[in-house]
């Protein structure tokens, strides 16, 4: 009897300790994020104003704004998504809905995972040799977008696959059971149900793509451009690269320090806005799916 009470006590204590450790760790994640954010905001908020986001850099990038870098990053994000999203989603649909389990599926899957594991600088190198040199796109938004797109592809494929897997099989069976073809089932039942989650893939890859520096280093990013790009064959400035440039090899690193923090803050805000937007889209489609 006494022994039992002891055991119960011990069980309770070890449970309490375990929970405390978990709690501490999860809080510390939040704390780290909070510290980084507040550091950037504290250092960067003072330089951010309307002129900062709408003006060209001035005086060797120690003054003025970062407008061309913002535009460049937006172009690159849009370009890479236009490339990666359809291909990634279609590849995932093919893999999840059409290929039977077996060696081919395993190979495709393994390759996708390998693609995700390649360091981003290698993507940059590959993009340079293929898009910039071999295909003669030159240092351009097109080459940069395609390179970033390759990087985003595995993220899109994986999240889309997860979204499709989450669709209950009985929906597929019910549709096929009514004489619908496989394609009708996929397009009219499976994809609409999975769509809100597929959007998550878009969010994740936008976040990933907008912050990457290595892949754009040799394919599109310019140290400084006096004017905005006018076509997809032009070079462009980009926020992460701009940040790198003014922090390491600017004309006057100390003088451009506040601009660097401002740039970082703008980058974070852009990712945040993209996330919020995509979240809104996801909710919207989530509701629409139930109604249609």
């Amino acid at each position: 009897m006494i022994n039992e009470i002891k055991i119960t006590k011990r069980k309770k204590r070890s449970q309490a300790i375990a929970f405390w450790i978990f709690r501490l760790l999860s809080y510390s994640i939040v704390a780290i994020l909070f510290i980084i954010l507040s550091f950037i905001i504290f250092k960067g908020a003072s330089v951010i104003n309307w002129n900062f986001i709408t003006q060209m850099p001035e005086e060797g990038m120690t003054k003025g704004g970062i407008y061309p870098a913002i535009i460049g990053t937006l172009c690159l994000v849009a370009g890479s998504m236009i490339f990666a999203f359809p291909i990634g989603v279609l590849a995932a649909i093919y893999m999840n809905e059409y290929v039977k389990d077996g060696i081919i599926k395993r190979i495709i899957k393994q390759m996708t995972n390998n693609l995700a594991g390649i360091p981003s600088i290698v993507f940059g190198l590959f993009g340079m040799s293929l898009f910039v040199n071999k295909l003669h796109f030159g240092d351009s938004i097109l080459a940069g977008s395609l390179t970033l797109g390759l990087l985003a592809l595995p993220v899109v494929i994986r999240t889309t696959e997860e979204a499709l897997k989450a669709v209950d099989n009985t929906f597929r069976q019910a549709s096929l059971g009514l004489g619908a073809s496989k394609w009708q089932t996929t397009s009219k039942v499976v994809i609409p149900i999975a769509f809100p989650n597929i959007i998550t893939g878009l969010i994740l890859s936008i976040g990933r793509v907008s912050g990457e520096t290595a892949p754009i280093l040799f394919t599109v990013a310019a140290y400084f451009l006096p004017k905005l790009p006018t076509s997809i064959f032009d070079q462009a400035m980009a926020l992460p690269y701009h940040l790198y440039v003014i922090s390491t090899s600017g004309t006057n690193i100390e003088a451009s320090r506040p601009i660097a923090y401002g740039t970082a803050l703008v980058l974070i805000i852009i990712v945040l806005i993209a996330n919020l937007l995509a979240n809104g889209l996801r909710k919207y489609f989530g509701k629409k799916v139930k109604m249609n």
């Binding site: 019910a174 096929l176 109604m291």
Partner: protein, 250 residues
């Protein structure tokens, strides 16, 4: 001629045999119940009739499954048209995340019917057939998810009826329903018999007794006994049937 007939059917999931030499003949406009303990092969057998097992990788079938005299696993069989003729109702009500109307219209649309009038007419008739019309006629545009479980299951039956099948397969259609909803679905099965041939898998032996004309008892992939429901439940020929229906195992 029999409506559905299976001759020497063996079925394998990979190396394991799920059905052993099954021979059954089912007449049109009857209700046939498939009973037996879990894993006995009754659901697998049911899913042969609309080739739903085709969705699973690594399966093997031998023997013949005939519907209206035609081997549905033979060459030149269009699986989509087969499934149009053989409707299915599932264990868990699974309406699509669409409106009530669109759920029933779906089968018509995917089968190429575009005339709005015909679609509206058939949706209404089908929902009336399952005695759901009075409950949903004012909210056809609302999500099917707003219905109760029993209503959802009747909607799924309406969805199957809309494309005018001649056979309806039901895979434990009431196992997730409350007694009142169950009674409604059973009543429905009884009425539908006049127009359709129904095969129903059930765990509930009272249900088999109430709704079916003939009952097949499966055990470990074998068909142990197949007879008139009354005979099977009152004077089973096999000891295993006797043991199962009296609740000694299962």
């Amino acid at each position: 001629m029999y409506k559905i007939e299976s001759k020497n059917v063996d079925f394998f999931y990979g190396p394991s045999q799920a059905l052993k030499n099954i021979n059954i003949a089912i007449r049109a406009n009857t209700v046939t119940a498939l009973i037996g303990p879990s894993g006995c092969g009754k659901s697998t057998y049911l899913r042969l009739f609309n080739r739903m097992n085709d969705l699973i990788d690594n399966i093997k079938l031998s023997g013949q499954v005939l519907i209206e005299g035609e081997d549905i696993y033979g060459r030149g069989i269009n699986v989509d048209s087969l499934r149009k003729n053989v409707g299915m109702v599932f264990q868990k009500a699974n309406p699509f995340p669409k409106s009530i109307f669109e759920n029933v219209a779906y089968g018509l649309r995917v089968n190429g019917i575009t005339d709005k009038k015909i679609i509206e007419e058939r949706v209404e008739t089908s929902i009336k057939q399952v005695v759901l019309w009075e409950e949903v006629k004012d909210k056809l545009k609302k999500s099917a998810f707003e219905l109760s479980g029993g209503q959802q299951q009747r909607l799924c039956i309406a969805r199957a009826l809309a494309i005018h099948p001649s056979i309806i397969l039901m895979d434990e259609p009431t196992s997730a329903l409350d007694p009142i909803s169950t009674a409604k679905v059973e009543e429905l099965i009884y009425e539908l018999k006049t127009k359709y041939t129904i095969v129903i898998v059930t765990h509930n032996m009272q249900q088999a007794g109430r709704v079916s004309d003939r009952t097949a008892f499966f055990y470990l992939g074998e068909l142990i006994e197949y007879d008139e429901t009354k005979t099977l439940f009152t004077k089973p020929k096999e000891e295993r049937t006797q043991n199962y229906i009296t609740g000694r195992f299962g």
